[in-house]
């Protein structure tokens, strides 16, 4: 058998090492040492790690389409927010009579707006399974409709980036409106329970964090499966010379649509995992800047590698948390400077630098494409 493996031996070892740290060591440090021990992981860090991992999943989803098919979507934040809203709607319905107005069916903001009945988009969201299906299906349907129109009309490059920005901006304006029925500019918040467990309870937070780790790991393997398949080679080829791929008999529009929809679903999953851990979803998540930030994470980590995207999201967000605490006014300048430096000096990102510095390691996790086969 020829063609690249899902992961090589080094790759699996690194993957297993991260899984052990994330799923055994972090939870152990968060629960086992006594509360005043120096080893004890502070409670606020667990949902913070969970949030970073959601961002990492988002970066992974963008790298799949940008790094491998050359589709620089600057609207992935919209799919993330839609997934988040689906989860948020489920969580709102779980509040029931514990809301300020004590209405068993209507969320507080609807009572406040003097609405009498639940609008149809909210139907069914009291069921967890339905809400989770929607968290994947709504982004998938939007991506399918948008992608079908764009790829069939052969919209590529910077034009595609611009219309994806317009898409997320339009959704932001729509969700800001009270009469859309999704809570207007306050969004959805004050969640109480998820599947009967208190969302603020330490064990629930630990469980949500662990589920996020598993989701990220599984999504990573799924993306690896796609990019190591023949379809992965078709995507890389169409990034080079799309017309040529068509003349070989492949429908490039369908290939692009497939990864675009898959990517949107991963973004939706990230959003659905994000909302219960941060406790709020509002239209700010649709802001065009958010989607651009995802592209910066991927560029900094190293695009076309999947691992680099995850790494980039974690590194940049750790830096963001530290710097916004130390000198909040400097963050945007630091992010901009980092992006310019990486673009000028490290076109393959952090991972490309690592590959250049340590060629003797030769791990295939890094984009040493010449070593394939």
């Amino acid at each position: 058998m020829r063609g690249p493996a899902l992961l090589d031996r080094t790759g699996w070892l690194v993957f297993a090492a991260f899984a052990i740290v994330a799923l055994a060591i972090v939870p152990a440090l968060a629960t086992l040492p006594s509360a005043d021990s120096a080893l004890r992981l502070p409670a606020y860090l667990v949902p913070l790690f969970g949030k970073y991992l959601c961002y990492a999943l988002l970066a992974l989803a963008l790298d799949l389409i940008w790094g491998f098919a050359g589709i620089l979507s600057l609207g992935q934040g919209a799919f993330f927010a839609l997934g988040g809203y689906c989860m948020g709607m489920y969580l709102m319905r779980q509040i029931g009579t514990r809301g300020v107005y004590g209405n068993a069916v209507l969320p507080d903001f609807m009572v406040f707006l003097n609405w009498k009945t639940l609008p149809w988009p909210w139907w069914g969201f009291n069921h967890f399974a339905f809400a989770m299906t929607m968290a994947l299906a709504v982004p998938a349907l939007l991506a399918a409709a948008f992608g079908w129109l764009a790829f069939r009309s052969r919209v590529t490059g910077v034009y595609l980036s611009i219309i994806t920005q317009a898409m997320t901006y339009a959704l932001m304006l729509a969700f800001f409106r009270n009469d859309m029925g999704f809570g207007g500019n306050n969004g959805l918040t004050d969640f109480k329970e998820i599947l009967g467990f208190g969302v603020q309870a330490p064990n629930t937070r630990l469980a949500l964090y662990a589920i996020t780790v598993v989701a990220l790991g599984a999504s990573f393997l799924l993306c690896r499966f796609v990019v190591t398949s023949k379809l992965g080679r078709v995507l890389l080829a169409l990034k080079d010379a799309e017309a040529r791929v068509r003349f070989l008999g492949y429908s490039t529009a369908r290939a692009k649509l497939f990864v675009f929809v898959l990517s949107a679903m991963l973004c939706g999953l990230a959003g659905a995992l994000y909302v219960p851990q941060v406790g709020v979803i509002n239209p700010g998540e649709f802001a065009p800047g958010n989607s651009i930030e995802i592209a910066i994470w991927v560029a900094i980590g190293g695009r076309g590698t999947l691992v680099g995207a995850v790494l980039g999201a974690l590194v940049v967000n750790l830096a963001k948390t530290w710097l916004t605490g130390a000198a909040p006014e400097l963050w945007l300048f630091a992010l901009g400077a980092l992006f310019i430096l990486v673009t000028l000096l490290l076109p393959d990102g952090i991972l490309g630098l690592a590959a250049r510095l340590r060629p003797m390691l030769g791990s295939r996790l890094v984009p040493a494409r010449e070593q394939r086969r």
Binding site: G3, K230, D240, A241, L248, G249, S251
Partner: protein
């Protein structure tokens, strides 16, 4: 309308902003034929290939493949799957894929997205690709990125991709452009060998190469056929001398 011809073009007209790139072009290629097409710049050679491969839709006219398939209604991918392969003037190989992977993508077979996602190379496909690599003289470069090949090697890789695709009809757009004399002679020999069990249309400027191929020649001028016949016949044709060879 049906025809025994493999490729049947009749009254094909394409205009770009009023300029007629093809002006009621008619061309018939029989199965198994080797045909050379020459003509000055702007004669419509590339536009003709674009029409046959679905890249350009003609304003009017008929384009049939195998007597029944209407090429004016199909897209590039569908036409390629029908069995029409094209080699571009400028070698376009996938520079970020290895030589082996370039050939793998071109391999004849199902080209649906689900197939591409789930299919893993079978042993006989690997043998076929290895045989192809040997035939185009790139066996020892199989694992290298195609972007690192020399110009001539890229031309050969592209021919290898055509062979992997195994189409009934091959369109070659200036296959020896930029090749050395030795490479040109080798390419002519390869094309003649290929033409034994395939139909090939070659567009070329290099008259020496056209003579080497020894096939029927069609001269295009201003989007339609000016003359057709053996190389000697067209070279002595007064109108051809006037518009093309005599310049």
């Amino acid at each position: 309308m049906t025809s025994t011809a493999l490729l049947y073009l009749d009254g094909v007209t394409v205009s770009f902003d009023g300029f007629k790139a093809l002006n009621s072009l008619s061309l018939v290629i029989e199965p198994g034929e080797l045909r050379t097409i020459i003509g000055p710049n702007g004669a419509g050679k590339t536009t003709m290939m674009d029409v046959i491969t679905g890249k350009t839709r003609p304003d009017s006219g008929t384009a049939l493949f195998g007597g029944t398939h209407d090429l004016t209604r199909l897209d590039e991918a569908a036409i390629a799957t029908l069995g029409i392969g094209r080699k571009f003037q400028k070698p376009t190989v996938f520079e970020n894929l290895t030589v082996f992977e370039n050939l793998e993508l071109a391999l004849k077979g199902k080209h649906s997205i689900t197939h591409a996602l789930l299919h893993r190379l079978r042993a006989e496909e690997c043998w076929r690709l290895d045989a192809l690599l040997a035939r185009i003289g790139l066996s020892n470069r199989a694992g290298e990125l195609a972007g690192r090949l020399s110009h001539g090697q890229k031309q050969w890789l592209e021919i290898g991709m055509l062979l992997a695709h195994d189409p009934q009809l091959i369109l070659l757009d200036e296959p020896v452009a930029g090749m050395t004399d030795a490479e040109t002679a080798a390419t002519a020999a390869l094309i003649i060998e290929l033409a034994r069990d395939r139909t090939i249309v070659v567009v070329e400027h290099d008259m020496e190469f056209v003579r080497d191929l020894g096939a029927k020649v069609t001269v295009l001028h201003e989007g339609s056929v000016l003359a057709e016949g053996s190389i000697d016949a067209v070279q002595n044709h007064p109108r051809v001398i006037e518009v093309y060879l005599g310049r």
